[in-house]
């Protein structure tokens, strides 16, 4: 089966984000960008399916600026076979990305699409579910484990009270949670090899999708800072302070 893995280029998770002084957004100038961590888990899972002989081809796709080709190189170095860059500068809403991915699915005809459950920039947690709805496919969100057998996929999901297992018909959408796997580090030979793997370039217009955002961002600001209180000397003092405050 062919597996499609959409990946997003985001601010590296170790970078402390700074809100721009004019409150129009977050400062992206000269900031280290990386593959979204949940997308990295998605690539790893797809590559493992290929290593097990279940996936025949792993195709990575990213919608974003030219710089997203670096993100695709990361996916290729991890073991994806080829990549598609749908070039777009500027903000895109999850629904727009889902519509573009629907177009990619129509061309590529994957049997499984694995996505990160959310991107750590906009924290939307929407694209996978939206793509599933647009395609009329089932979704295994927040996956902690997947098994493909007999034309179906079993997904163990991280839900609020514990774990839930579902069985989905294929084709299907899976979104990854943190504990699905631990992504590998790409080896130097694989990084070199990835440079020779093909990245096809497309545009948003190729998929007939209007990229104009419909939500209007009025302002982005820093959260209110919490002030540190004082130290207490002992557990007994802590308990008396909490009793005074009326919280215990």
């Amino acid at each position: 089966m062919k597996v499609l893995v959409p990946v997003k280029r985001v601010i590296d998770f170790n970078v402390a984000v700074r809100v721009k002084a004019d409150r129009t957004g977050v400062d992206l100038a000269n900031v280290k960008m990386s593959i979204n961590p949940f997308c990295e888990i998605a690539v790893e899972e797809a590559v493992r399916l290929k290593e097990k002989g279940i996936a025949t081809e792993v195709v990575a796709v990213s919608v974003g600026p030219q710089g997203a080709s670096e993100t695709l190189r990361t996916a290729l170095a991890m073991g994806a076979d080829r990549a598609i860059l749908v070039k777009h500068d500027g903000e895109l809403e999850p629904l727009t990305v889902a519509k573009i991915l629907r177009g990619v699915c129509a061309e590529e005809k994957p049997e499984l699409v694995i996505l990160g459950k959310q991107a750590i920039d906009d924290d939307c947690n929407q694209t996978g579910q939206m793509l599933a709805a647009l395609l009329g496919w089932p979704q295994g969100t927040f996956a902690a484990k997947i098994d493909i057998e007999g034309g179906r996929i079993a997904v163990t999901r991280e839900v609020d009270g514990g774990l839930q297992s579902v069985s989905l018909s294929l084709p299907a959408i899976v979104t990854t949670d943190l504990r699905l796997n631990e992504p590998r580090y790409a080896s130097l030979p694989n990084i070199m090899k990835a440079r020779k793997k093909p990245i096809a370039e497309k545009s948003v217009a190729d998929y007939g999708v209007d990229p104009t955002p419909r939500l209007k961002v009025l302002e982005v600001r820093e959260p209110e800072k919490r002030k540190a209180g004082g130290k207490v000397a002992s557990a007994a003092e802590l308990v008396s302070k909490l009793r005074e405050r009326g919280v215990i």
């Binding site: 750590i120 979704q139 579902v166 419909r214 939500l215 600001r221 919490r226 540190a228 215990i248």
Partner: protein, 311 residues
């Protein structure tokens, strides 16, 4: 026109988050209706009918909704969507699964995890794990929203809404429930708890977590954990407080042996009162704590237990 709140429940009891979602809905569009989708969920419908300001409770009682699978539930919500200008659910695993499907089928953007309603069209929501707050305007289309319930105050339970059955919608038949493995605990749920006691890597082992549990039981508190403690296998995944775990805002949050990584702070910094117990004086958790105790937790916790016993 009206807003529709999708109830969060376990088949028997309505989740406290629903009362908070209703509070958000009432600020966007009234009257507020609640949809209870489930199987044999009459008791849940009755609890929902008591929520203040709710006009009507719609009950879709059918086997296909027993496990709240996103595919059939989204179809149900879509079958009712025409009558509402806002559709809301708590930002839980269920809400996050269903609502984007609904939004995509309605061809509207979804507004995720709102923190406040500034006006019926303007919402605040966290981005970058709460390190920035975005204000967005959604005008000219049906609003599909998930609500960060920790940021809202529950409506009172003084209502008396009418309960009406609604027909089940077509089941796409592409997903099946297999099993679930939910952690059973006598302690309160993390998201509804007034007090949470959380342990981190400082606990050093699964067995030592009993120290946390003993304090929690003295306080009637829920037990939480940092990602480090979960990854180390001290406690199950669903105990995790943080950006990728549960987002909580209890009256009192006691962090024990937790250094305070950004990831963890994102999940608890809106708690009313924060206590930190850590032996490392420079741990970032002290930067957000109202009361800090610099001490070895293996000495501090037994002392804390003793102090709690003394009235």
């Amino acid at each position: 026109m009206a807003s529709l709140v999708i109830a969060e429940h376990n088949g028997l009891a309505l989740d406290e988050g629903t009362a908070k979602t209703v509070a958000a809905a009432a600020q966007i569009s009234q009257p507020v209706h609640i949809l209870v989708a489930g199987q044999a969920c009459g008791a849940v419908a009755e609890q929902a009918a008591k929520l203040g300001g709710v006009e009507k409770v719609l009950v879709a009682d059918d086997a296909r909704y027993a496990h709240f699978l996103a595919e059939p539930v989204a179809e149900l919500v879509l079958s009712l969507a025409a009558g509402y200008d806002a559709l809301l659910a708590a930002a839980t695993a269920n809400g996050k699964g269903v609502m984007p499907r609904v939004a995509a089928k309605l061809d509207v953007p979804q507004i995720s995890e709102i923190l406040s309603v500034e006006s019926p069209d303007i919402f605040r929501r966290p981005i970058y794990a709460g390190n920035a707050i975005q204000t967005v305007e959604a005008k000219g289309f049906k609003k599909v929203i998930t609500v960060r319930v920790a940021a809202f105050t529950a409506v009172a339970k003084d209502g008396n809404a009418a309960i009406e059955p609604v027909a089940a919608a077509a089941d796409p038949g592409i997903s099946q429930f297999v099993s679930e493995n939910l952690s059973r605990s006598e302690r309160p749920e993390l998201q509804g708890a007034k007090i949470i006691v959380s342990g981190g890597r400082g606990l050093q082992s699964k067995d030592n977590f009993v120290l946390i549990e003993r304090i929690a039981d003295k306080l009637g508190a829920a037990v939480g954990a940092s990602r480090a403690a979960v990854d180390a296998g001290f406690v199950p995944n669903d105990r995790q407080v943080g950006q990728t775990g549960k987002i909580v805002a209890p009256e009192l949050y006691i962090a024990v042996g937790i250094s305070g990584a950004i990831q963890h702070l994102a999940g608890m910094k809106d708690s009313k009162v924060i206590v930190a117990i850590n032996k490392d004086e420079s741990a970032p958790i002290f930067g957000v704590a109202d009361y800090g105790l610099v001490a070895d937790l293996f000495e501090a916790l037994p002392e804390l237990e003793k102090a709690l016993d003394q009235k």
